[in-house]
Each structure stands twice: as structure tokens, then as C-alpha cells.
Symmetry: D3
Subunit: 135 residues, 6 copies
């Protein structure tokens, strides 16, 4: 079901860049599990390295948004882009970060309400109110 080969740990061990990223994923997440996204991206070691560095910076390093909020935003984008893999992996991540059933229910209500009103605004081509424009 993939257009690329998924790298095993054995294959990864033979390419230093890939091995280093897989090791860092395990150390950062304190888990032995390396999910398929990284095993697919390993075919392009340079892109693997840069993408993991970005994910660490954006999703893992502490900032002003809490980690659960970031995961919800990630799932929202992935849903709208119809990325099955990303919806699955980030919903699992949100749960690991404490998403309750009540929060998930509200999240689904917001995401689907946004999709609904996006559709209405786009069908009626509603002009933006000047009050909403900054520049």
C-alpha cells in the first residue's frame, strides 16, 4: 500500500544518517517504537533528517501553546487534507498526551462545524468584512 520501501532497523543500521535519526526518535520519545512515516522517509536520508529536526522543534520543544493543543491543530489540518496516515498517528499522539473523550467530542464538533461554515462561505463567496483586515 506504499509507493516506497519501509526501512527495517537492520537497513537503518547501515546508513549513519538514518541510524542517527532513528536513535534520536527513540531517545526523544523514550520508546522503542519507530512508526512507518519515518521508515518510509528513510529512503531520502537528507529529507528525513530535516523533517525530524522540524518536528522536534515545532511539536516537541516547549513553547507557548500546550502540546495537546498542537496535536489538535495537527489533526484538524490532516482531516481537511484527507491524510489518513496523519489523522491516525496524531490522534494516537493526542490520546497519549491526555486527550479525554469529552475533549475529543468537542474537537470533532469544532472541526466539522468549521468544514460546514467553510463550505457556506465558499459557496456564497461572502466578502471579507473590513473589520477583519489588518493590512
Amino acid at each position: 500500500m506504499s509507493t516506497v520501501k519501509l526501512w527495517t532497523d537492520k537497513a537503518a543500521a547501515a546508513v549513519p544518517t538514518v541510524k542517527a535519526v532513528f536513535d534520536d526518535i527513540r531517545a526523544t520519545r523514550k520508546s522503542d517504537f519507530v512508526n512507518n512515516f519515518w521508515r518510509a522517509l528513510a529512503n531520502q536520508p537528507d529529507l528525513l533528517e530535516r523533517t525530524w529536526a522540524s518536528i522536534k522543534r515545532v511539536m516537541i520543544e516547549p513553547g507557548t501553546l500546550d502540546p495537546l493543543t498542537k496535536e489538535l491543530v495537527y489533526i484538524a489540518v490532516s482531516t481537511a487534507n484527507s491524510c489518513s496516515y496523519c489523522v491516525h498517528s496524531h490522534t494516537a499522539a493526542a490520546r497519549a498526551k491526555g486527550l479525554s473523550e469529552g475533549q475529543y467530542a468537542e474537537f470533532l464538533a469544532v472541526v466539522s462545524m468549521a468544514a460546514q461554515t467553510n463550505s457556506l462561505a465558499n459557496s456564497m463567496q461572502v466578502p471579507v468584512d473590513p473589520e477583519f483586515m489588518i493590512a
Copy 2:
């Protein structure tokens, strides 16, 4: 720039359903401003009434997600769906609810990182790890 007429307050005053919704928007938001989305939807009074009732329930009534998180999820979906109107109106709403520049910068980083990895997962058609499936 619109495919429908935008209702003035005078037009709204003549149709009880529309008037009631416009009045409730003003009372709920404690502001005289009724934005173009509702003025466009007023052409379909029944849909106007149901959409406003949903927005109140999903976005305004207190729940387990804080109001700012809901707005960020809303902007994320609207960005992915390329709904110019919705991005404008909900970014303004997020700011009114206290979005700081630092939070907005992080939000943009998350949204665009999600779009980037969605694109990678969709191009490589990465198979979902069994660990992420519930049913």
C-alpha cells in the same frame, strides 16, 4: 464579490426569523457588529437559524476545550480548506480571545508543518501502523 445579496439591518427587520438571529448575535456577543457571513446567510432564514444555533452550541457554550483552542482548530481547518472569509473572521476572533503573537507564531509553525507532513505521507502513501488503529 458575492453570489448572494448581503442583508442590511433594515431588510432583516422585516423578516422575524432573520431579525431574531441578528438580535441574538448582538446580545450574545455584546456588540452591535453583525458580520457579512450572517448577512449572506440571511437569504436562507432557516439555514441561518440552524447555523447560528450550532455555532452558539459548539463555539460559545462552555465545554472542556478552552475558547482559544477552538478558534485555533477553526482557523486550521479554514486554512486547509482555503476559505479566505473564515480565516479572516476566526483569526480576528482568536485575537479577541487573547491570542498572543508568540502563540500565533507557534500556531503557524504547527499548521504549516502539518501541511508539509500530510503531503509527504500522501505522496509516499505510508501504510498506517497497526499501533494507531482502534477498530
Copy 3:
């Protein structure tokens, strides 16, 4: 606001393929109005000719779906794809083919309900029931 030049009638008159398509648009629609889509596509005469031939065959020649239903399907796709130009032009076309305000209100309700449930099915990654599969 365009990435290509829009052809005037004078420019069209100098290129036989473009002139022939513009003439046929006018004859087919019994109107002197040639909208910007065709004036933009005129930069690529071959694509102009093939696209107009397809539009005539799919949207204008009589078939088993009535013309108004076809326009509604067209607007639905254009809304989901966020094509501002297409939403405007096909909403105008639907009105010219007799779309009533009541039908338009119902159409907006269906389009936005579909967007909402698409979003729910995509976020929950609902597995397709075997009953719905043909092959």
C-alpha cells in the same frame, strides 16, 4: 488579479482557432457575452478548443440528467475545491436555468452537511461497510 492576459475580441479575431471558439460560444449561448474564463484560456488555443468541446458535450448537450442538476453538481465541486471563479460563474448559470431561492437554500444545506460529515468520517477514519462495496 490574473496570471495570464485576457483576450479582447480584437485579439481573438486575429487567431482563427480562438475566433471560432468565441463565435461558437456566442452562437451556442445565444448571447454576446464571452466570460473571462475563455478569454484567459485563449492564450492556449488548443486547450481552449478542447475544453470548450468538452463543456458543450458534458454540460450543454441533452442527456439523462437535467441541466440544473448538472449545474448544482458543478457548484458543489467548485465550492469544495475553493474555486472562486467557478462558484461565481456556475451559480449565475444555475440561476439562468431557473434555480429558485428555495432550491438554492436546500442546495447550500446539502453541500455544507456533506462537508461536515466528510470531516467527521475523515477524522474518525470510519471503515467502509462491506455493504457499500461493489468490487
Copy 4:
């Protein structure tokens, strides 16, 4: 393949809101079949109840658009949003409402023609003709 648990009838029987919706789905459709969308949404009883109420109102109650036209619009949106579940379920629904092979062929021609011209209008960024604007 799902990010949520699918509710069996036994699980549904234990939660009054869920049981009531499942019962109403069966009574309304005059069929014992409750498809996975509702079994997934049952995890959020409140959203289940509101979504089913909207579907009944928009898709099942008689209006000015015929039921088959509504299903075609629904499939068109679901195709553009790449919602596999929704395309499957509403294509089955359209067939149950009498969609002929000839109508389906024409529908596919319209949907794909719309996608094609959306793409052309979006690449050339064709400016909307003033003739198409209402407000």
C-alpha cells in the same frame, strides 16, 4: 482502520441517547442496517444525536430538490474532499434512490469536468466577471 471504537448494538442498548438514534435510523430507513458512520459517532452521543437530526432534516424530509439530486451533490462534495467513506455510502444511497447507469456516467463526466476547469481557473487565477457578482 479507525481511530475510534465502532459500537455494537449491545453497547448501544446501554446508552439511551445512542439507542434512541439507532432505533430512529432503523425506523426512518425501514431497514435493520446501521452503517459504521453512526457506530463510530456513537462515541460522542450528543454529536450523534445532532448529526442524525440534521441528516434527517436536510436529506430525508421532503423539500424542493428531489432526493436523487441531493445524493449527487453529496457525492460530488465527498469526491472533491476525498472522503472515501462518504463516497461509498452516498453512491450506495444514490443507487437505492434509482440512479441509473446512464445518469451515473453523466454525473462522473460533470464532476470530473468541474475538477478540470476548477484547476484551470485556479492556475490562471481568472478574475470574476462583474456580471457574475450579486453584492
Copy 5:
């Protein structure tokens, strides 16, 4: 997993239009393999015939863009539209036309970079610079 029946060679043999297209696909590609897209589209012989004629003209006939560039553009669109089938089939086609691993890595970097900056430009609603407008 399909909403339509997939035509076997035996079924195709009984319908002249379908048989002629399948024969031409085989002759053009110098291969006995007819992929599922055409076996699905065979349910609508007229659409099958027109779609194959377009594919031949756009993707197979020599032009000013080289065949590999066309395949990369095709995969890029299919990724953004989340068309799993099309990503698979055109990635295979690109490889058959000589796509190297290094080129594929760069392609993935470009596609995902574009998705990322699309998302940034759409969230910030950046106004188009007059320098970029033709008309």
C-alpha cells in the same frame, strides 16, 4: 473497495468501444497490463473513450515538456488532492520513465515545501504583489 465493477478482459471483449480502448492501451504502452482505472471506467464506455483520448494527447504525444516532468506534475496534483490511486499509478509511471531516487527525494522536498508555504500564505492571507499580476 470500489463503488463500481471492474471489467475483466472477457467483459470488455463484448463491448466494441471498451475492447477498442483496451486494445489501444495495450498497443500504445506495448504491454498487456490494463490497470484498474480503465477497468472501472469501462462501465461508462463513452467517458472511457474520451478520457483515454485525452490522456494519450496530454501525457503520451510528444510536446515541449519532457515525459518525466509531466509525471511529476501529475503526482504533485494527485498528492494535494489526496488521490491514493493516482499517486500510486503515476509514481509507478514516473519510475518507468527513469525517475532516480535522487530526483524523487528532491521532488518530495518540493511538493512538501509547497504545501507548507501554501498553508502559510493561506493562513496569513498574504495579498498578491502587483508585480505578479498580468491582467
Copy 6:
């Protein structure tokens, strides 16, 4: 028309990170023109710096795909994502890199053909041929 302020050169001069990026954009492109995308992103200096670094690496440093091919892939993604800003800026960039009218016509034909067949494959939910799967 924007949800953020666009930075003037004067404002940029006061923030070292922003000034450094603007200077590098000018030096790299050998042009005084800094387009609005960067003036908008300047509100988030850290994201500005990382995004410009990625663009340089992916789009400007020499690789195995030629610069014009990369721009065409970029426009293709931007068209499918309906990013008006990105379509405008990268179509201008493609022209600056030598895109001929004939190549542009072929590009438009490929992009719109892809959108059309994406739509067909997604509506019929065509199952992926095993021949196209790698893993």
C-alpha cells in the same frame, strides 16, 4: 486583505533577524524586490528565518531536478490547494526561469487532466493495482 501586518524595509531594519533575511533574499536573488510573503512572515522572525532557509535549500541550491521543473511542481501543488498568492508568485518565478508559452500550455493541460482523473478515481474509489505497490 491580510490577517497580519506587512513589514516595510524600515520596520525590518529594526529587527536583526528580519533584516538579515531580507538582505539575504536580495543578495540571493540579485534584486531589490522583497515580495509580500516575506513581509508578512516577518511578524514571526524565527519562522521567517527557517522558511527562507528551507526555500533556499529546496528551490535555489542546485540539485538533480532543473529549476523550472521545480517551479512547475510548485504551481501544481498551489493550484490544487487553491493558494492564490502562491500560484501568482510561482508562475512569475517560472516565467523568470524561462517558461515558454508552449510549455505553459502543456503544463495547464497536465494539471487539469490530473485533477479530472483524480476526481474519477476518487468517485469510483478504484482499488490500487498490486503492480503499483512497493511495500
